[in-house]
Symmetry: C2
Subunit: 190 residues, 2 copies
Amino acid sequence: MRKAAALELAILGLLKDTPMHGYELRKHLNHLLGSLRAVSFGALYPALKSLTDLGLIDQTETPTAAGPALNTKRARITYALTPAGERHLAELLLDSGPDTWDDEGFGVRLAFFGTTESTVRKRILEGRRSRLAERRAALRDNLAARRERIDKYTSELQRHGLESLDRELHWIDDLIASESESAGETESDS
Amino acid sequence: MRKAAALELAILGLLKDTPMHGYELRKHLNHLLGSLRAVSFGALYPALKSLTDLGLIDQTETPTAAGPALNTKRARITYALTPAGERHLAELLLDSGPDTWDDEGFGVRLAFFGTTESTVRKRILEGRRSRLAERRAALRDNLAARRERIDKYTSELQRHGLESLDRELHWIDDLIASESESAGETESDS
DNA sequence: GTTAGCATGTAAGGAGTTACATGATTTT
DNA sequence: AAAATCATGTAACTCCTTACATGCTAAC
């Protein structure tokens, strides 16, 4: 299976719901990615090109000179998923491997949890949990190992970092708990 | 002035306190950078090389065959700041521009706040604050703009993101406040 | 005497950024 | 008619990752 950078997944996921052109897509991407990062055109268009080359999306030229009054928006190239693209997206949404535990991967996957199988959701949440727990352990060790030698700014930074991790762990635990609860209701798997 | 990636600053800052060889330096870097990222050898050694080429650090070969029993550790190349390197570091620590507000830049700068002028500290903290405030505003707008159309996972993510931002803003405010307090007390440091 | 960890690097390549280049459409 | 914004791309460059290549030293 291909490497599937987070950006690719986000593009495919957004285009599945709504075919769009690049400029519009970028705005949705920046909302979706939130504080993670901003997508530039220099990143977006090459990505769209490579997805097109792979046959996962196709481009429909919407003429400007001929008839721009289809709706209020003037568009030039509208991107949409091909059948192969839909299949590929469905495959990507079954992944629950290490890539889906890290900050960016997890952020993007969460945005598509609505169309993710509940067993996959659970594995992702648990993977993410253990990732955060590892980080927390490393930070604590670090903090304990060199008590005296750190100035107040560094210790403040680490204290705040630890607190943030604790809150995020708690948050994930809540998500996992609500996942287990609704497991009996909606889907038939347990 | 040169661009000064966060990694360079971290290296210079660490080497000023303690000359070390690469392998050891990497461990300190990974502690310093914490959850931000891990530095690989493929990133570290080229960086050390370029700093050497710039004359900011120098390399001292510590022979292994001849006499390894200097202390318990066998080292091969020890890196240390040159006078030019110290000057350059001092210059970098005066910077309080946009690079010092972003996640990575701020994280690294905070680690060296102990040797940063209090006026510079304050500017950095305030820049960071406004960065976070911008993010918060964007998130809120995003949240308000499309109330109904988001599933529970996305809204949970955004709610948690907003809460984290609020806590971080509060944390920064505390740092700024304690900065102002100690400003009157001592010119040098506390 | 072999495994594990210490120690230093290089080569190829991925994923992105900034700056540039171009032109259409809408608003003022 | 000028300015802002919409819209699509390319080229050069930066920074980092992965995988490789090499050898020393400590411990079992």
